[in-house]
C-alpha cells in the first residue's frame, strides 16, 4: 500500500504564523492507521509507505508534519506565485500511489479546497470528499471509508483504488508531535514544474464569516418563531432518497437544480 499525502502551507488561525494544517495532519494519522491495520502490526512502514508532498517555495513548518508521524516529505520547489497543480500532478503521476490523501481545504493559504479536484481530474483518479475514517476494504485493492456528512451523519463507502480522498476535520485528532521524529524524518527537495499563474486573476479580500440566513418564512414573524427558525436545523428543501436507481437519482437532481434556478432550459 503506497499512500501520498498532500500538505499545504497553512497558517495558524489566530497568530497567522506558518503552521501545518490540522486536517492534513489528521490525514497522516488515517494513513498510518490504515497501513498498520493492513499489516496487523505496529511498524507503520512495514506494509507500505507514506510520502508527503508539498509544492511551494519552502517547506517551512511542514517539517513539523514529520513529527506527527509522516516518515518522508518531498518538497517540490516552485515559486511563490506558481500553480502547484502541475508539479503535484507530475510527481504523483510518476510514482504509483494507491491512495492520495488531502485535506478538505487548507488553512490560511490558497485554501479554496479545489486543488484535490483539479488534481484528481488531471490524474484521472476518482475522488471522494470528507473521509473521517479509513479501513481495509472487503476485497484486495479496496478501502472502506466513512464519509462525514453535515450534522454528524456518516456514510460508509467502499472505494476501489487508486483514488484520491480528502479528509474531514471529524477524523481522529493528529498524532501528538514528537520532536525527535521530526529530526529523524526525511525531507527531500526536488525541482517542481514552474507554472506561473496570470496575475490579478484572484481578488483578495479580508475574510468575513458569512452571515447566517434567516429562513424567509420567519422574517417578520414573532421573536419565538424567528428564534426557532434560526436555531432549528434549517431545511434546504431537499428530498432524501435512500438507495435510488441511478436514473431516478439523476432525475431528482435535475429537477432540484431546475427548481432553484441553476439549470434553465
Amino acid at each position: 500500500m503506497r499512500i501520498a499525502i498532500l500538505l499545504s502551507a497553512g497558517r495558524h488561525a489566530v497568530s497567522g504564523r506558518p503552521a501545518p494544517v490540522s486536517v492534513e495532519l489528521q490525514a497522516i494519522r488515517l494513513a498510518r492507521e490504515l497501513i498498520r491495520q493492513m499489516a496487523g502490526e505496529v511498524d507503520g512502514n512495514a506494509a507500505g509507505d507514506i510520502t508527503g508532498f508539498h509544492a511551494g517555495p519552502d517547506a517551512g513548518p511542514l517539517k513539523d508534519a514529520l513529527g506527527h508521524g509522516l516518515p518522508r516529505l518531498i518538497q517540490l520547489s516552485i515559486g511563490a506565485q506558481d500553480d502547484p497543480l502541475p508539479s503535484l500532478a507530475a510527481a504523483l503521476g510518476a510514482e504509483r500511489f494507491d491512495l492520495v490523501l488531502a485535506g478538505r481545504s487548507g488553512q490560511g493559504g490558497e485554501d479554496a479546497g479545489l486543488l484535490p479536484y483539479a488534481l484528481a481530474r488531471t490524474l484521472g483518479l476518482p475522488i471522494v470528499a470528507d473521509a473521517c475514517a479509513l479501513a481495509a476494504g472487503p476485497q484486495h485493492g479496496t478501502v472502506s471509508l466513512e464519509q462525514a456528512l453535515p450534522r454528524g451523519a456518516r456514510r460508509r463507502l467502499t472505494l476501489r483504488l487508486p483514488a484520491l480522498v480528502t479528509v474531514h476535520p471529524a477524523a481522529p485528532a493528529p498524532l501528538p508531535f514528537a520532536f525527535a521524529a521530526m529530526r529523524r524524518g526525511m525531507l527531500e527537495t526536488r525541482e517542481g514544474v514552474p507554472a506561473p499563474r496570470a496575475a490579478g486573476e484572484v481578488e483578495e479580500r479580508a475574510y468575513r464569516a458569512r452571515p447566517k440566513l434567516i429562513a424567509k418564512s420567519a422574517a417578520g414573524a414573532s421573536a419565538t418563531e424567528r428564534l426557532k427558525a434560526a436555531t432549528e436545523a434549517a431545511s434546504s428543501g431537499g428530498r432524501l432518497i435512500v438507495d435510488p436507481a441511478p436514473e431516478d437519482a439523476a432525475r431528482a437532481i435535475l429537477a432540484h437544480l431546475r427548481q432553484i434556478g441553476v439549470l434553465r432550459d
Partner: protein, 660 residues
C-alpha cells in the same frame, strides 16, 4: 596464634572476627550492587568536595528532614549509631591492647545496648500493626535481625567486660549475633540495609549539591536538543548519581503521604515509582519484590525491566498514567530523608515520552501544538492578553522602552477569574505610584507548561524568544503574580542567558505596604488561611512575605496543617490539569477541605493555577481570594475610613446652617 595481651574472652575475640567477616560480606554485596550503577551515564562529580561535605550533609541536612518525625529520628540515631559504633569498636578490638581492656568492652556493650534500644523501637513502630506508609516484606523482619544482632553482641561484650564471668551466656549470645548479623549483611544489596551505603554515596555525589549549601536548587537541567536520544527511556539513560539516588530509598513512605496524586487516588505513588526505578537496573528485573502500598488504582503493567529495557509502558515497569499524574509539586522531594530528586526523574522520563515518542496524554497534546504556532497554550491572540484590563491604564513598555518594573502577566491574564486579580494588582500599582509597564502582545508564554510536559524543545524556543524580547527593554525588575512564570524567569532562564531580578506580587505589595506607599485599613479580623503555591513556597522558599502581608491587613490568619514549605499542592501544576489522569477524588477538593477545616472564611491564594483549581471546588466552602484582591479591599477600606473622618471633621467645623 593468639596475640600477646590475650583478648578479654574467646567469645569476644570470635565476635570481632565474625564482624570482620560480616563486614567483608557486606562490602562484597555492596560492590556487586555498585557495579550495577555503572550502567548509568557518566557524570562529572566532585568526589573530594562531596566526601568532605558528607558529615555535614548527613548530620545537618538529612537529620533536618528526619527530625520532623522525632520518634523516627531517635530510633534511627540509636539503631544506626549503635550498630555502626558498636561494630566498628568491636572490629578495632582486634588490636590486642584494645581487645584486652575490659573497660573497652564495656563501651562496646553500651553501644550495642543503644542499637538494641533502636531495634526495639523499629519493632514498636511496625508491630502489632504496620503503618500503611511503611513497607512490609524484608522490612518486617528487620527489627528481629537488628535486635538479635545487637542483643547478642551486647551480651558477648558485657561478658568480656566482666572478664568472662558468664561463659554460658556468651556463646549462645554469639550465635544469636551471628544469625542477626548475617541476616543484616545479606540485606545489603536488596534489602533495607542498602539505604546505608547507597544513601551515603548519594550524599557524596548528589546531582544537586547546591541544595546542601542553602541554594534553592530546583530548576531542571536543560536538555541538549542535539543529543542522539532525548530524555530517559531505560535505566542506562539516567546519570549514575541518579541511579544511586533510587537505591538510597529506605521506603519510609514520607513521600507517599505527602503526594497529592496519591491522596487523590491517581495511579502515582512516588515511593513505588522510585522502587520500580531502582529495581529496573538489574538484568531480568521484576517489580514483584516491592511490599509497600501500591499505585492507587494501579494500571496493569508487565513489570519486567532491565538496564537497557524501556521503563515506561504497559509492557514495562511503569504505566504512562503514573508518569502523567505528577503535578511536579516537589512535596516528595521536600519530605525525602534520602534527598532523592523524584521530580527530575519524572521530567526526564516525560521528555523521552514527549520528544521521542510523542506519547503524551491525548488532552496534553493540543496545548503544546498551540504553543508551537501561537506561543500561547490556548491558541489565543497574544494581543488579547491585556483584554482583562479594559478601562484601566496599562502602559506598554514598547512606548517608552523602559520602566522601573516590568509586569509579566502570564497565562492567568486570559482567565476571567484571574483577570480580577490582575485588575486589583494594576490598580494597586497605580495607587502606589509604581513606574511599571507590560510587554503586551510581545509577551509569549513562559514555557513552564511545555517544560513540565517534557516538551523541552518548545520551552527552549520560548525561553530564547522571551529573552530576546526582554533584552530590548530596560527595567530593574520583573514583577509577576504567577509563581510558575516567576520560577521560569528567575531560575530556569538563567541557563539560556537570561538573568533577571524577579519579584512576586506578594513580596512587592508587602514592600509597598511596609514602605507606606500603600495605606491599608484593617479588614476587621476576617478569618483567612493562606495556601502556599508550590512554585513560590517549595520551589522558591518564599513563605514569609505573603504571611507578613496578610498580617498587615488586619486579618486573623489561621494555618492549615500542611503549610509553608510542606504545603499541599492544589493540583494545578506540572500540566496535570491538561493531562487529566483519572483518580477517585480531585486534588483541589482535598486541599479545600483542609482549608475549610481551619474555620477560615477566606482562602488566600497567590497563583493563577491555585486560583482556578480552588475556585473550581463546588459546594459549601470558603471564598477564594488572591492576596492582591485582599490588599485592594484593605486599601479601599482605609480610604473609606479616611473619607469618613474627613467628613466628620468638616461636619464638626461647619457652622450650623440656618433653617429656612
Amino acid at each position: 596464634m593468639i596475640p600477646p595481651g590475650p583478648p578479654a574472652t574467646p567469645a569476644a575475640f570470635c565476635l570481632s572476627l565474625v564482624i570482620l567477616s560480616l563486614a567483608g560480606l557486606a562490602l562484597a554485596l555492596a560492590a556487586r550492587r555498585a557495579r550495577l550503577w555503572c550502567v548509568g551515564r557518566g557524570v562529572r562529580v566532585e568526589w573530594v568536595r562531596g566526601l568532605l561535605a558528607l558529615p555535614k550533609r548527613y548530620l545537618v541536612d538529612v537529620h533536618h528532614v528526619v527530625g520532623r518525625d522525632p520518634f523516627a529520628a531517635r530510633m534511627h540515631a540509636l539503631a544506626a549509631g549503635g550498630l555502626l559504633g558498636g561494630s566498628g569498636l568491636a572490629l578495632l578490638a582486634l588490636i590486642p591492647t584494645l581487645g584486652g581492656a575490659r573497660l573497652y568492652w564495656a563501651v562496646i556493650a553500651l553501644a550495642f545496648a543503644g542499637a538494641l534500644a533502636g531495634g526495639v523501637m523499629v519493632g514498636r513502630r511496625r508491630y502489632p500493626t504496620k503503618p500503611a506508609r511503611l513497607s512490609g516484606g524484608r522490612f518486617q523482619i528487620l527489627p528481629f535481625l537488628l535486635t538479635a544482632y545487637a542483643a547478642g553482641a551486647m551480651l558477648v561484650a558485657f561478658d568480656a567486660a566482666l572478664g568472662g564471668a558468664l561463659p554460658a551466656l556468651a556463646w549462645p549470645a554469639l550465635a544469636l549475633a551471628v544469625i542477626g548479623g548475617l541476616g543484616l549483611a545479606l540485606q545489603v544489596d536488596r534489602g533495607p540495609m542498602r539505604h546505608a551505603f547507597a544513601g551515603a554515596t548519594h550524599l557524596v555525589i548528589h546531582p544537586r549539591p547546591g541544595r546542601f549549601e542553602g541554594e534553592r536548587a530546583t530548576d531542571l537541567v536543560p536538555l541538549d536538543l542535539d543529543a542522539p536520544r532525548l530524555g530517559v527511556a531505560t535505566p542506562s539513560d539516567f546519570a549514575v548519581n541518579r541511579l544511586v539516588g533510587f537505591d538510597a530509598c529506605i521506603q519510609c513512605g514520607r513521600c507517599e503521604i505527602a503526594c497529592p496524586a496519591f491522596a487523590a487516588g491517581q495511579p502515582l505513588n512516588p515511593k513505588r515509582l522510585i522502587q520500580d526505578l531502582a529495581a529496573a537496573i538489574q538484568p531480568n528485573a521484576a517489580n514483584a519484590a516491592y511490599k509497600g502500598s501500591p499505585y492507587p488504582n494501579a494500571r496493569a503493567v508487565a513489570g519486567i525491566g532491565g538496564p537497557d529495557l524501556p521503563l515506561i509502558g504497559a509492557g514495562a515497569m511503569i504505566h504512562p498514567d503514573t508518569l502523567w499524574s505528577c503535578t511536579t509539586c516537589r512535596a516528595c522531594v521536600e519530605e525525602c530523608p534520602m534527598m532523592i530528586e523524584h521530580v527530575d526523574a519524572i521530567i526526564d522520563l516525560r521528555r523521552y515520552q514527549t520528544l521521542e515518542l510523542g506519547a503524551l496524554p491525548a488532552k496534553a497534546s493540543p496545548p503544546l501544538m498551540e504553543l508551537r504556532y501561537a506561543d500561547e497554550p490556548g491558541g489565543r491572540a497574544l494581543a488579547a492578553r491585556t483584554d482583562f484590563a479594559a478601562g484601566l491604564t496599562l502602559p506598554l513598555i514598547s512606548a517608552t522602552g523602559r520602566a522601573e518594573v516590568l509586569l509579566w502577566l502570564g497565562e492567568g491574564a486570559y482567565e476571567l477569574r484571574y483577570g480580577r486579580t490582575l485588575r486589583a494588582l494594576v490598580t494597586l500599582l497605580h495607587t502606589a505610584g509604581v513606574d511599571f509597564a507590560v510587554l503586551g502582545p510581545e509577551e509569549r508564554d513562559c514555557g513552564d507548561l511545555a517544560r513540565r510536559l517534557g516538551d523541552e524543545a518548545t520551552f527552549q524556543r520560548l525561553a530564547a524568544e522571551n529573552i530576546a524580547t526582554l533584552a530590548r527593554y530596560s527595567f530593574t525588575r520583573i514583577l509577576t503574580a504567577d509563581p510558575h512564570a516567576l520560577h521560569a524567569l528567575r531560575n530556569e532562564y538563567r541557563a539560556f542567558g537570561g538573568a533577571y531580578e524577579v519579584i512576586h506580587h506578594t513580596a512587592l505589595l508587602d514592600e509597598l505596604v511596609a514602605g507606606g506607599r500603600l495605606t491599608v485599613g484593617a479588614l476587621h479580623e476576617a478569618r483567612v488561611t493562606y495556601h502556599d503555591p508550590c512554585y513560590l513556597g517549595r520551589y522558591n522558599g518564599e513563605i514569609d512575605a505573603p504571611r507578613r502581608l496578610l498580617d498587615r491587613l488586619g486579618l486573623a490568619r489561621l494555618e492549615m496543617e500542611r503549610a509553608g514549605k510542606r504545603s499541599m499542592c492544589c493540583g494545578g501544576g506540572g500540566g496535570a490539569p491538561v493531562s487529566d489522569i483519572e483518580g477517585e477524588r480531585r486534588i483541589p477538593d482535598i486541599r479545600m477541605a483542609q482549608a475549610a477545616a481551619t474555620g477560615a472564611g477566606i482562602v488566600a491564594v497567590a497563583c493563577p493555577q491555585c486560583s482556578a483549581m480552588l475556585d473550581g471546588v463546588t459546594g459549601e466552602r470558603p471564598e477564594v481570594n488572591d492576596i492582591a484582591e485582599l490588599v485592594l479591599m484593605a486599601v479601599e477600606a482605609g480610604r473609606a475610613k479616611a473619607a469618613r473622618k474627613d467628613v466628620a471633621r468638616k461636619d464638626a467645623s461647619r457652622p450650623p446652617e440656618p433653617v429656612a
